[in-house]
């Protein structure tokens, strides 16, 4: 079978699944009883800004971001041996693969969320950063501009 393209959006708007599809499925997680030192090592090693904190069944119970650690470090210089669960943000907003990119961009901007863990059927399937969202939106707009320019004869034809 074959699918189709055109100036319109094919299957629908770009959604979170499309963003995760090219991220290789990496989700960096940590368990709540691990130390902040271990969390920092993981953040540095994987070059990411946040870890999803998961229970034994890999269900997200919180998120620990660089920002959480910075905030805590101001009050407590000896935070390295504390447990992740003491610092993590507990009320995590999660996304689903079907969430529209546009809606997610709004939610993340308005609620100042930098990382959105994505859950499908109760399972953590990925994490989307605000950088991922911005890049996907940029590619979407670039593509539309490219297509429209071509159609009004400004393409380098």
């Amino acid at each position: 079978m074959i699918s189709v393209t055109g100036i319109g959006k094919e299957g629908g708007f770009m959604n979170i699944a499309h963003v995760l599809a090219r991220k290789g499925g990496h989700v960096f997680t940590i368990q709540p009883r691990r130390t902040v030192r271990e969390a920092l090592e993981a953040l540095a090693r994987h070059n990411v800004g946040a870890l999803v904190v998961v229970d034994e069944e890999n269900r997200p119970v919180g998120i620990l971001s660089e920002r959480d650690i910075v905030r805590a470090a101001v009050r407590d210089e000896r935070l390295f041996d504390r447990a992740v669960e003491e610092l993590m943000t507990r009320d995590v907003i999660t996304g689903s693969p079907e969430d529209d990119l546009r809606a997610v961009a709004h939610t993340m901007t308005e609620r100042r969320i930098r990382h959105l863990p994505v859950v499908a059927a109760g399972r953590l399937v990925g994490i989307v950063s605000i950088g991922d969202v911005v890049k996907a939106q940029r590619d979407e707009y670039l593509g539309e501009v490219e297509t429209l320019q071509m159609q009004i004869g400004e393409g380098r034809v």
């Binding site: 299957g11 499925g25 297509t147």
Partner: protein
């Protein structure tokens, strides 16, 4: 020695000659500091992928993007190997013996299913099969669509659904001016379809079609287009979202649909009803084929991340339709020997680098771009930044010496392999001759072209 010089070019095989394959070739061949040489493979003798076999025949202007691809093809270090299928004529190990890098741009080739009872009854078809058939795709020439029903339903409100709806509602005279396949034109001449329902599971503000697309439907000379006032009225959650986002394009879309709902029928021979907030739950048979569709009414609900999704209510209705086209999304198909990500229906990759499923590390020399990398989304041009991202990683890896080390990088050796495996391969010159013949046949009939629709016909046309 690192490839990328005049004496030792970076040899790249691209699998799939659709828009993404051409954009990737353009980026690779346009590098000032790296000399690349590109062989573009396609399993069909003809290039352009979905621009030829997907874009609707009454959208010739969109098809004119091929002029951009032709410029790339004119590059002296570009070759086309059409009618050569990856995994059948050439395999991964053979490509590894001839190329430094291999890039997969094979698109999303299967339909998502509705997963409802009766989905496979006669009279229910994937919309994309119909699209490939009316566009003369060699694999679909032998499909048969029973167009004897009075009423049809098209499930989905994306671009494909809109294309199929338009083709069903156009008069034979309008279609005869396009490059639609001859057999499809004949079949559509006999079509008895007079009424089409276009079904969206969410509301008017969430419909994926663009404003120009819905206007084009509204302006069809042979069809009255309408919608139900209660379905195009904004519900509370959609209104709140529009107030928040101030998205003018979507506001205009809702206005257009509300104008359609207020229209009086003008007695045109065909009719389109655009429906919202409904999902099919079963196709019901009569005389062994689709006779009715059972629908559930939906309401919208916001997810925690802010998307408005459809949730079924306990209200149902039935439509009398004898023909159903399903268009609710697509999925990529795994390629032999290439890791696949089942979650998303794409090649397992990180920003275009194909990953080893074991350790999630990049596999040297293997890359992907386009719909088989990110899933089916965006317009044709979206594949250009997508291809650029992958090519940037290919060049970064090449500069770092992370390429394959093919024992036979000579372009002549690759051509010899292709010739041996598929003597009936098509070069770019072959395609250009075929193209001229198609355009010539079209000129006589006042059409953009008359397509050759089988590989045998194409070979015969070139005297092979």
């Amino acid at each position: 020695m690192r490839p990328g010089s005049d004496a030792f070019p970076l040899r790249v095989a691209i699998i799939g000659a659709g828009p993404t394959g051409f954009y990737a070739a353009e980026h690779l061949l346009g590098q000032p500091a790296v000399v690349a040489s590109v062989d573009l493979f396609d399993r069909l003798p003809t290039p352009y992928g979905l621009v030829r076999y997907g874009v609707a025949p009454d959208h010739q202007k969109i098809k004119s993007v091929t002029a951009v691809y032709d410029r790339t093809a004119a590059h002296p270090r570009f070759r086309f190997f059409g009618n050569v299928e990856f995994g059948r004529h050439v395999g991964l190990e053979e490509l590894r013996a001839h190329y430094h890098q291999i890039l997969f741009c094979t698109g999303a080739q299967t339909d998502r299913r509705l997963n409802i009872p009766g989905e496979d009854l006669p009279g229910s078809y994937p919309a994309t099969e119909f699209v490939a058939w009316y566009n003369g795709h060699p694999d679909y020439v032998h499909c048969r669509f029973d167009l004897s029903a009075q009423a049809a339903a098209v499930v989905g409100v994306g671009n494909v659904a809109v294309d199929v709806t338009r083709v069903l509602l156009r008069s034979p005279e309008e279609l005869a001016r396009t490059d639609i396949a001859d057999y499809a034109l004949e079949a559509l001449r006999e079509s008895r379809v007079r009424e089409v329902y276009l079904l969206g599971r969410r509301g008017p503000a969430q419909a994926a079609f663009t404003n120009p697309e819905i206007r084009e439907l509204a302006d069809l000379p042979g069809a009255d287009v309408t919608a139900l006032p209660e379905e195009v009225a904004l519900d509370e959650v959609s209104r709140a979202e529009l107030d928040r986002t101030q998205d003018r394009t979507t506001m205009r879309k809702v206005e257009i649909l509300q104008e359609l709902a207020a229209r009086r029928p003008s007695g045109r021979p065909r009719r389109l009803v655009v429906r919202f907030l409904v999902s099919p739950v079963a196709l019901l048979a009569g005389d062994g084929r689709v006779a009715r569709m059972r629908l559930v009414r939906n309401r919208l609900e916001a997810t925690p991340a802010g998307t408005l999704v459809a949730r079924p209510t306990d209200r149902f209705e039935e439509l009398t339709v004898g023909l159903v086209f399903r268009s609710v999304g697509y999925r990529g198909v795994p390629l032999p020997g290439v890791p696949f990500n089942e979650d998303w229906g794409v090649i397992l990759n990180e920003r275009g680098r194909v990953l080893d499923p074991g350790n999630r590390e990049p596999i040297p020399g293997l890359y992907t771009a386009g719909w088989i990398k990110r899933g089916p989304t965006g317009v044709i041009g979206t594949n250009k930044p997508d291809a650029a991202e992958t090519v940037a990683h290919m060049l970064e890896d090449a500069a770092a010496g992370r390429t394959l080390s093919p024992p036979e990088p000579d372009p002549a050796a690759a051509e010899a392999l292709v010739r041996e495996r598929q003597p009936a391969y098509f070069s770019w010159a072959d395609w250009q001759r075929l193209n001229e013949l198609e355009v010539q046949r079209g000129r006589a009939a006042g059409r953009p072209r008359v397509k050759f629709t089988s590989v045998e016909e194409m070979l015969a046309a070139l005297g092979r």
